[in-house]
């Protein structure tokens, strides 16, 4: 508590606003591994948690799981199976590439939106006694805070989110691979990125590693509305945010082509996400982060 008092609260943490989401929980769709007992279905069976099924006894099994009543009634040996429940290990992976700094005329960047959203996410997860971690991806794995549930840990994560800094270069795939090597336990990976990379294939190859190890991966595709269509005006000198050059163009002449290409990019990200077994959600910075988060949680709750 003293630590809480001594550490200033993140400016992106609006508890009053988040109170509207107090009754909501982040629910996983897959069975997960957790460190402690919790509310989430564990990939482990056993214990005395929730009854799951019967199975014929196999010699050598633990006799404590034998259903004696059934044996007495039917003469057959059946073993009772129980679904173990565990807590959630959620890692928030934030794309801190230069492109995330794009904020348009309102100067509200995608990164800023992600900061709000990730802070809220960490709050919701920690509030339901689950563990939350943070991975910052830029030209690699820039920062990693493994999942934890202690208040100090959460505050540290929120502080790290607050002080996120971008780098012009981006290598999302390498960052994800590094992250995969550093996390030993399965959990949920929430990737918040605009997916503006040269080649999407390596990125999703990395994500497939997580999926192969039965991670639940959620891809939050961060999109700024001013990315969807070019601004009005005669001529612009468009300058890249990731050392990708600049170009003079008249928006009127290339607007349609641009929109087609951007829409194709979004569709590709979505298709590749789903194909890789990831959950995909398009997040617009024009939508308040609470609404986005609320919708996401509601959808997850089923």
């Amino acid at each position: 508590m003293s630590q809480t008092l001594s550490t200033p609260r993140s400016p992106f943490l609006d508890l009053k606003a988040l109170s509207a989401l107090a009754h909501m929980r982040f629910v996983t769709r897959h069975q997960i591994d957790g460190a402690y007992s919790g509310r989430h279905r564990s990939r482990q069976q056993g214990g005395a948690a929730e009854f799951a099924d019967y199975r014929e006894y196999v010699e050598g099994e633990d006799l404590r799981r034998l259903d004696w009543k059934v044996l007495a009634r039917t003469g057959r040996a059946y073993v009772r199976l129980f679904q173990d429940e565990t807590n959630l290990l959620c890692t928030l992976a934030i794309d801190a590439s230069g492109s995330m700094l794009f904020g348009g005329h309102a100067n509200y960047s995608k990164l800023r939106h992600v900061q709000w959203l990730a802070t809220a996410f960490s709050h919701v997860i920690s509030r339901q006694q689950d563990q939350v971690g943070l991975a910052v991806l830029s030209d690699g794995l820039a920062d990693l805070r493994p999942p934890g549930s202690r208040s100090a840990h959460v505050q540290g994560i929120q502080q790290a989110i607050e002080t996120l800094e971008t780098k012009p270069a981006t290598d999302l795939a390498t960052g994800l691979r590094d992250l995969f090597g550093r996390l030993s336990r399965r959990g949920v990976l929430v990737l918040m990125s605009d997916f503006l990379v040269e080649d999407l294939e390596p990125v999703f190859n990395s994500l497939r590693l997580f999926r192969h190890r039965h991670w639940e991966v959620v891809c939050l595709h961060i999109i700024h509305p001013e990315e969807e269509r070019l601004p009005e005006g005669l001529a612009y000198r468009f300058e890249g945010l990731e050392n990708d050059g600049r170009i003079d163009a008249s928006p009127g002449e290339v607007r349609k082509l641009y929109e087609d290409r951007f829409a194709a990019h979004c569709a590709t990200v979505r298709e590749m996400s789903l194909a890789a077994g990831c959950d995909y959600r398009r997040v617009s910075t024009a939508t308040p982060y609470l609404e986005t988060l609320g919708g996401f949680l509601v959808e997850r709750a089923g």
């Binding site: 794009f102 612009y236 300058e239 008249s250 290339v254």
Partner: protein
């Protein structure tokens, strides 16, 4: 190709204008950081690939449009570079020939070709360095301002300022010859230049011969003519045949229509105190004869003029043409024969009766036939006869032969009935006395000894010719049965025209010959009429009447003379001697001289259009009407390709544009350039539309 405003070509730098305008008007780009710049790049690249062709097309069309605009403002003058430049001086001789014929007075929009040519000529009359120039004013007789090329350009220009087109035709060859003489006298190392400023009428230029010029002469031809000049002119006024008092006379007016459309022509004829209107339709590009008739009541010279009414054309000089008609009293035929005048069956009797077949109410014949003994034939006796008929004259004396030849040369017709051997001698002497002016197609010879000319009939009659044409299809019926006797044998002469033999006998000898001699003509009937059956035939009188009409009508028309040209005519015998004769209306209208017992009227340069008369006291003895040569009425110009052929390998530059209408023709390129420029701009819009821009 040259330019009217070459300085404007500097505006060609404006070709870079589209790029410059594009660069200057290019909006200043607003810097904007964009995370999706790669998509913008891809879009721009994709668009460039699609629009590269469009952009190049647009740039090409815009550049072309500006280039054409500049070209148009610079006023390109298409054609070859002139061989002789007005501004080029240096060591040389330059002869400038200015056409001052009547056609140069033809006006288009009130400006005559001569006025267009005057400044053009003045440009070439420049001297500097060792360049010497001369000006030849070319009409019927070319006139050089100086005898030799001079540096006195001021005098040349002064003379040019006074020059004006005359009522005469262009004697181009004489002008070329004169220029050739001057150029030939220049030093071989000097540059030789000939500049001819003319309207290049087809009628004058088709026979141009540049061979008198030195081979190295540079010939610059400047046209100030316009092929579109429409002209209608009176080419000729004449009265065919013999004009006689009290006899209806047909007056023909030949009108040339040198325009592109047929014209209804009205001509007002003023003859003496009478005025007549003649009208007719003239097809384009042709000359048409329209006629009227009137009956002269008084004998003597009648003068008048024909004038085109209500005609809008380029050349006014040929809209009026004066003329003179010699109205004679009833004709008198002089029958020279040694036969008796008694009404016997002699050849001369038949001839006399056929010449004057009609007897007037008062018992006197309308036509007088005066018998004259050959020995009495002299100048006084011959003066009273309009036609001299010789029938059995016997052997004529040399003076009589000379008199006959002289009369024929001056236009007196002679009819010879050759029946005896002596006639062969007379005809031979007559041919010799007439000299080169008469070329008999056959030579008449006495019949060979023992040969009897009898039972001859006519063959090879030229039925389309007078006198046979009067019989039409019944010619064979009328003359085929006739039999002839007597006459002379004949053989073909080398120098004569075979067409002059109008009929032959069955023995291939000539039966009827009509040939010209100077202004007059000679008809020969080769038969003894008394021994032939023709006098008893009904065809005799009309045949002889037609023959006489032909002989009297073929007198060359000496009453029409082209202005500016040399003239020489014999006055009629009744004019007498030159002493006491006067010329009107001007005394200096040539000279009257006695020559070979006749009076000749020589005029080196015939005066401007009008009627000029020879008078003794108040009586007019002869008259001529001067007028514009008919060649000048046809204003159509010669084609440039013909000029090149005429040049005969010499360096010739024909500037069809010149300074007048041709200039417009040459300077029309700018209009096409503007049209092309507009087309480029329209194409640009089309390209933009096609690329949906």
């Amino acid at each position: 190709m040259s330019f009217l405003h070459p300085a404007l070509l500097l505006a060609g730098l404006a070709i870079s204008l589209p790029v410059l305008i594009h660069w200057l008007t290019r909006p200043r780009p607003v810097r904007l950081s964009l995370s999706t710049v790669r998509f913008v790049m891809q879009a721009v690249q994709q668009r460039r690939a699609r629009h590269r062709l469009r952009d190049w097309l647009i740039l090409l069309l815009r550049t072309l449009a500006i280039a054409l605009l500049v070209w148009a403002f610079a006023r390109p003058l298409l054609g070859q570079k002139p061989l002789v430049s007005a501004a080029e001086l240096g060591d040389g001789v330059r002869i400038v020939v200015l056409d001052q014929s009547a056609s140069m007075g033809a006006a288009v929009h009130g400006v005559t070709a001569f006025e267009k040519g005057r400044p053009l000529t003045a440009d070439f009359l420049s001297a500097g360095g060792n360049l010497r120039a001369n000006l030849i004013l070319a009409g019927a007789t070319p006139r050089a301002v100086f005898d030799a090329p001079s540096a006195n350009v001021g005098a040349l220009r002064e003379e040019l300022g006074r020059a004006k087109p005359g009522p005469e035709r262009l004697n181009l060859q004489a002008a070329i010859n004169l220029a050739g003489d001057m150029l030939a006298k220049s030093a071989p190392e000097q540059r030789r230049e000939l500049v001819i400023v003319s309207d290049f009428q087809r009628t004058n230029w088709t026979t141009a011969d540049f061979s008198p010029l030195p081979k190295d002469t540079k010939i610059e031809l400047k046209s100030v003519g316009d092929s579109d000049r429409a002209n209608v002119g009176i080419l000729r006024v004449s009265a065919p045949g013999r004009a006689e008092q009290g006899r209806e006379l047909r007056v023909e007016v030949e009108v040339g229509n040198y325009s592109t459309t047929a014209r209804d022509i009205q001509v007002e004829l003023t003859i003496g105190k009478g005025t007549y209107r003649v009208a007719g339709l003239c097809p384009p590009g042709l000359s048409t004869a329209i006629s009227t008739t009137f009956t002269p009541t008084e004998p003597g010279w009648q003068t008048g003029q024909a004038k085109l009414l209500n005609v809008e054309d380029s050349l006014k000089a040929d809209d009026v043409r004066p003329f003179a008609l010699d109205v004679r009293p009833s004709p008198t035929y002089l029958l020279v024969t040694r036969e008796s005048a008694k009404p016997q069956a002699t050849s001369s009797h038949f001839t006399e009766r056929a010449l004057a077949p009609v007897v007037a109410r008062d018992g006197k014949p309308a036509i007088r036939v005066v018998r004259v003994q050959p020995s009495s034939l002299d100048r006084d006796a011959a003066a009273g006869g309009d036609l001299i008929v010789l029938d059995h004259p016997g052997k004529l004396s040399q003076p009589a032969i000379n008199l006959l030849a002289g009369l024929m040369r001056r236009g007196r017709p002679v009819l010879y009935v050759a029946a005896e051997s002596a006639d062969a001698t007379n005809l031979k002497m007559l041919a010799e006395a007439a000299g080169a002016e008469m070329k008999l197609p056959v030579e008449f010879l006495p019949p060979a000894a023992g040969q009897t000319r009898r039972g001859l009939f006519l063959t090879e009659m030229r039925k389309e010719e007078v006198p046979f044409s009067i019989f039409g299809d019944s010619l064979s019926a009328a003359l085929g049965t006739l039999r002839f006797a007597g006459g002379l044998a004949s053989r073909r002469a080398d120098r004569g025209l075979a067409d002059d033999v109008l009929a032959s006998f069955s023995d291939r000898s000539a039966a009827l010959v009509v040939t010209s001699c100077g202004a007059g003509s000679l008809g020969i009937i080769n038969a003894d009429l008394a021994a032939s059956s023709i006098p008893a035939s009904g065809a005799f009188v009309p045949l002889l009447s037609e023959l006489v009409s032909r002989l009297m009508g073929t007198r060359a028309d000496q009453t029409a003379v082209n202005s500016g040209e040399a003239m020489a005519v014999y006055l009629p015998a009744e004019a007498g001697a030159a002493a006491g004769l006067s010329l009107e209306p001007v005394e200096n209208a040539g000279q009257l001289n006695d020559e070979n017992a006749f009076v000749t009227w020589r005029w080196n340069i015939a005066g401007p259009p009008g009627v000029y008369q020879v008078k003794r006291g108040n009586a007019t003895l002869f008259a001529v009407a001067t007028g514009v040569s008919k060649d000048e009425s046809d204003l159509r110009t010669i084609d440039a390709s013909v000029i090149q052929r005429l040049a005969g390998g010499r360096e010739v530059h024909f500037d069809a544009a010149g300074a007048g209408g041709g200039e417009d023709q040459k300077d029309r390129a700018w209009t096409w350039a503007l049209i092309a420029c507009t087309t480029c701009m329209l194409l640009e819009i089309g390209v933009l539309k096609a690329f949906r821009t």
